[in-house]
Amino acid sequence: MGAVDNGCLLEIKDIRKSFEGDKGKRNLILDDISLQVCKGEFVSILGASGCGKTTLLRIIDGLIESDSGEVILEGERVGPAQRRRMAFVFQDSNLLPWRSVQKNVELNLEAMKELSKAQRSERAIEALRLVGLEEVASRPPYQLSGGMQQRVGVARALARQPVVFLMDEPFGHLDNFTRERLQQEMSRLIERIGATVVFVTHDIDEAILLSDKIVLMRSNPGQVSRVLSVDLPRPRWKYNVRAHPTALALRESIVEELGLRIDDWEEVGGIQ
């Protein structure tokens, strides 16, 4: 297969996906989605709830199959070998209550038979250290706060040392304070380890703070409506990004593109 080396690590080509809807008719959820993610890039997929972001991420990770189109990682179509080089961070941390925090992280390594038990535990501890949780490694997860659980979810992905992180609104369920702090921590962490990330969110400010590139998605059916690059210097801090002229302009165009298109308003009955 002709892998064109244009520096792109992950390539998503013309993904289509429909689900069984009411009365047996099929609902088109994703309509010819294409995007490219380069090495070390942080790409956010930004769109309203229900536009198909999670579905897209699940297709990339091979958790479900698309109707057509392909996902290419490092020049090859995604199969079991490629799936091992990706790591998913779920919307709810989804920690197994019967395993300790460390064992939860290790779960993500247990399919990697080349790692010894000691190596797995070493990697898990290291990942927990990166998110500042090595001290609760032996605790059961239900004793942790929501923010800490979500960090364990991030550590679980870090432990895999993947070439691409797939993150599905990892901070979506958290309270405002915790979310702000985790966003900042995530920003630091990503800058530090230079990770490649596909990050799903419906939070515009979060996308601007973290991303190099923002992919705007439209709903019904889910389509890429625009791709914007975020030319803000790093390291970024929440307070200086928010007031930065580039960020303001970006925010403006995102809001315009996503939220205030007149035809969308007409669809929901217009403004009274």
Partner: protein
């Protein structure tokens, strides 16, 4: 600002100290509170006073019941043989119900084909008053232990089956995607995700079944037996021997309490997160 991530404090008080007590009484099982003990004493005294003013065939008295109970366990009228017969039927029935219920529950929870094939029959049987199968059992199998055990199994099967099936469905959405993303094989998925995930549901069902088998053994022995606690209950009832009846009643009830109590303890040990999660939400 350092690069390191800040650490939140885990709420120590949430799972230590006083909270344990709340959890125990919260399950509605223990009689640990003093109020309950006082109430019991008052009831026993009232029972003794009122009972001694009436013909003992009505409500008897606690003292009479105690004397009969003592005689049944350690005195002239020992009924250990009946207790043993009932216990064997009960626990053999429970064991079969737990195994069969889990297998069917897993099948229905995991496989769409099995679900659509079996669900109508299961719903039908579950809605049937199972006692009506007893006479049939006597005709098909005979008046023997086999008939009683089959009845106990049919009665106690449902809580396990339905809970395990529900557990499978719950685990499916939440945790199997995790295992799948981690790259677990089918077998690893079952061993590492499904079985432990379904375990608390199984234990919930098992606790209910462990109570039901006591009903099952008593009812079936009342109908199709000449031995066992149920048989004794039936014959004492027809002979108006109320004190003896209540003594056997006490023995049967203790079986129920012990069964449910043991399973509650096992649940708390094997699946401590269930209690914690419920309180947390």
């Amino acid at each position: 600002m350092t690069v390191g991530l800040q650490r939140e404090k885990v709420g120590e008080d949430t799972f230590k100290g006083t909270d344990d007590k709340a959890r125990v009484s919260g399950r509605g099982f223990s009689l640990s509170s003093l109020g309950a003990v006082y109430a019991l004493i008052v009831i026993l005294i009232l029972w003794q006073v009122i009972g001694s003013m009436m013909d003992p065939i009505y409500i008897s008295t606690p003292v009479l019941v105690y004397k009969n109970l003592y005689a049944m366990l350690f005195g002239q009228h020992q009924i250990w043989h009946d207790i043993a017969v009932s216990a064997v039927e009960m626990y053999v029935g429970l064991a079969i119900a737990l195994v069969l219920g889990s297998v069917l529950g897993l099948l229905i929870g995991r496989s769409k084909v099995a679900r659509s094939t079996l669900a109508p029959y299961i719903n039908f049987l579950n809605a049937t008053p199972i006692v009506i199968t007893l006479p049939l059992m006597a005709i098909w199998v005979g008046v023997n232990q086999k008939a009683r055990i089959i009845f106990i199994v049919i009665l106690a099967l449902w809580p396990v089956l339905l809970n395990v099936a529900a557990g499978c469905r719950n685990v499916s959405g939440r945790y199997t995607e995790l295992g799948s993303s981690a790259g677990l094989t089918r077998f690893e998925m079952i061993r590492k995700i499904i079985v432990p995930g379904v375990l608390p549901y199984f234990l919930t069902g098992a606790r209910i079944s462990a109570g039901l088998v006591v009903i099952g053994v008593v009812v079936s022995e009342m109908e199709v037996s000449l031995v066992g606690l149920g048989y004794l209950l039936a014959s004492y009832a027809s002979g108006f021997q109320t004190a003896k009846l209540l003594a056997v009643f006490a023995i049967s009830t203790s079986f129920g309490l012990v069964n449910v109590g043991v399973l509650t303890l096992i649940s708390r040990k094997w699946a401590p997160w269930v209690a914690t999660e419920k309180r947390g939400r």
